[in-house]
Symmetry: C2
Subunit: 391 residues, 2 copies
């Protein structure tokens, strides 16, 4: 099976190296072409800067897109599918925005569009979710979907250092990008949660302004110390629930009790959970990023195509409705100014330097926090566990 | 696809009920026959007490064996395979003893022999392990494989009650059997670890007297309280490692630091981990037993057959050698009598009511504990985490 890799960064190199090593069942795979940028020197005989050369090569069966970003990735994926090539991508941003288009163009051209590595890196999450869906309705998806933010929160807790210090350290270690906003502001989690919800609910949702997203940019070392003193650990989590004819979807800092699995996920690991009616709760944990785990997941998709193991067909026929206020939660809010008025309807209580608010519909909470941020741009909030985390 | 279920206990009933509900992709499955015991009243039209009636029914494609025990399950599985029926079983005891025979008879008759539900109940563990093996060598398998013992240890920790009290409670709740020895003495874990090692290393190992197995029968509420005071949690774990041309394998009480994932696995949940060279560490957590999770895993196997998703071929061609002393560990030993002499080679140190011993090869440790048990049949031991659990 002949493969073309578009982009030769961390993940592209990893895919190339694993295939070259030809262990186990990868012996039937061969990298025939690698697309590099215009004007970049071709250091390997497989390299080319011509996408047409790849599209028009009838020997190439599979195109692996690991360029990242929206364009030209979006166009390259469509062109490859239209040239009857299977496409595999790790690019969550482009999938979250265009999964419906990619799925229908793949179906029209009788080729596959797979993306295991886009959510949870090396964790077999998409595969596990699709498998659960063969039997069950999945009525909740929750998890730590972003390794960078988990690394930052874990280091803050372990070292007591400030957010900006730890972020700088993460950037030096290569765990965070120069522009870290996608990771710390929750957009990366939102992309991965959208992709998961697309599959779980058979509906196409894109990250947009209506979705409640709150990141960790404003968290302070004092917040972490206070939560720790109450036996709570804060994690940036993506959460989605389905109930009756509705579903919700939120990305927010979430307090977990010390004994919760999520509270104990270290470093840049991810954990993703699903709940189904007969299977109960399943949790998948592993490296949510990194060269070889992510490349491993790309190659798992290639092997599924080679072994004709079909993934779930996505048709987006569901008529579930998005309701940002489907679930309620208690929250803790920290602000330099008095914001109790804003939360007057939700039994605000001052505790130490924090305001506890109760039973707030999730969408409403995120809207009210936008009002708080207008007055205090450094304000922070986190959801509080239902089973009674005491602050 | 027509199915016969052998045995109509908890899991058999669960399989029947999920298929009857005909959700999602199970609509193509139909239960045609159910084998019940001789002289038992047939309460459903599908029921029969004749195995021959099932074997000779050419319309039956798949036989689900959920009788349990070795015979007649072993014979029924062989007979079904020889009658060209795919066989699915949840019966870890019979698989651990006869996987080589079942695999070769299945291959000879061009049918499948699948057993996802036998290890980890509803956790997609076999499937996840086989998938990892498509690319990686798997060089370690560790986990909490037994829900009953985990429930007991978790309850002892949470309530401070004695082993016998909690065991009685577990039996009343249906979490433990009238004869709990397979669960609390580690034999159930040994079966599941053998099955996992068979797949991971492509070698056939059976639970036998040479395998280091130590259960939790002797643990006291004072042990638990002492470990808790040191921020450690004890779990009954199965562990296997592969290094060079050798592998090991052990079932033993294992101290975990408070922040380890394993330390926080509650109730009757299981967690199973693998480590591979490119994927790193993957952990799978879920309900390791229970009617619907286990039945779900049985039906996943049926759907794999229906959708022609082939599992890994097992040929047992590996020439790895078992070495009980492949790895070393520190241990804590509790005995009413002075046993420091027995461990003279391993830097014995008395700490509170316990003896700490250091860098003991695992097989040697289990042999030495047999000597201890001859003098003090209530003695207890647990391995201590490498990263320095302080007792």
């Amino acid at each position: 099976m002949n493969i073309a890799i578009l982009g030769f960064g961390t993940v592209g190199t990893g895919v190339y190296e694993i295939i070259k090593k030809a262990s186990r069942q990868t012996t039937n795979l061969s990298v025939k072409k690698i697309l590099i940028r215009k004007n970049k020197k071709a250091e390997l005989p497989e390299m080319t800067d011509s996408i047409e050369e790849i599209l028009n090569d009838d020997d190439i069966d599979v195109v692996v897109e690991v360029i990242g970003g929206i364009e030209p990735a979006h166009q390259y994926i469509l062109d490859a599918l239209k040239h009857k090539k299977h496409v595999i991508t790790a690019n969550k941003a482009v999938i979250a925005r265009h999964m419906d288009e990619f799925s229908s163009v793949a179906a029209e051209n009788d080729v596959k569009f797979y993306f295991e590595s886009s959510v949870g890196g090396g964790i077999p999450w998409i595969q596990g979710l699709e498998r659960a869906l063969r039997i069950d309705d999945v009525d909740s998806i929750t998890g730590i979907f972003n390794g960078t933010s988990n690394f930052i929160l874990d280091q803050m807790k372990k070292t007591g250092r400030s957010f900006s210090d730890v972020l700088l350290n993460a950037q030096q270690l290569g765990y965070a990008e120069a522009d870290p906003s996608a990771d710390i502001d929750g957009l990366d989690v939102a992309n991965k949660l959208c992709i998961s919800a697309d599959i779980a609910y058979d509906i196409f949702v894109t990250p947009n302004d209506n979705l409640p997203i709150f990141g960790i940019r404003n968290i302070s070392e004092e917040d972490i110390a206070h939560f720790t003193s109450k036996n709570l650990t804060v994690k940036l989590m993506g959460k989605s629930h389905q109930l009756g004819n509705e579903f919700d979807y939120v990305v927010e800092p979430t307090l977990c009790k010390a004994e919760a699995i999520e509270a104990n996920v270290p470093d840049n690991y991810n954990v993703i959970s699903l709940h189904g009616n007969t299977i109960g709760t399943l949790k998948f944990m592993g490296q949510g990023a990194g060269q070889f785990p992510t490349a491993n997941a790309v190659i798992q998709d290639i092997l599924d195509i080679y072994q004709e193991k079909e993934h779930l067909r996505r048709e987006f026929h569901s008529n579930l409705k998005f309701n940002a206020n489907l679930t309620k939660s208690d929250y803790v809010v920290r602000s330099e100014i008095d914001v109790a008025d804003i939360f007057a309807d939700y039994q605000p209580e001052t505790r130490n330097d924090y305001l506890m608010v109760h039973d707030v519909p999730v969408g409403t909470m995120h809207n009210l926090m936008k009002d708080v941020l207008k007055k205090d741009e450094l304000a922070f909030m986190a959801s509080v566990p239902a089973e009674g985390g005491v602050l």
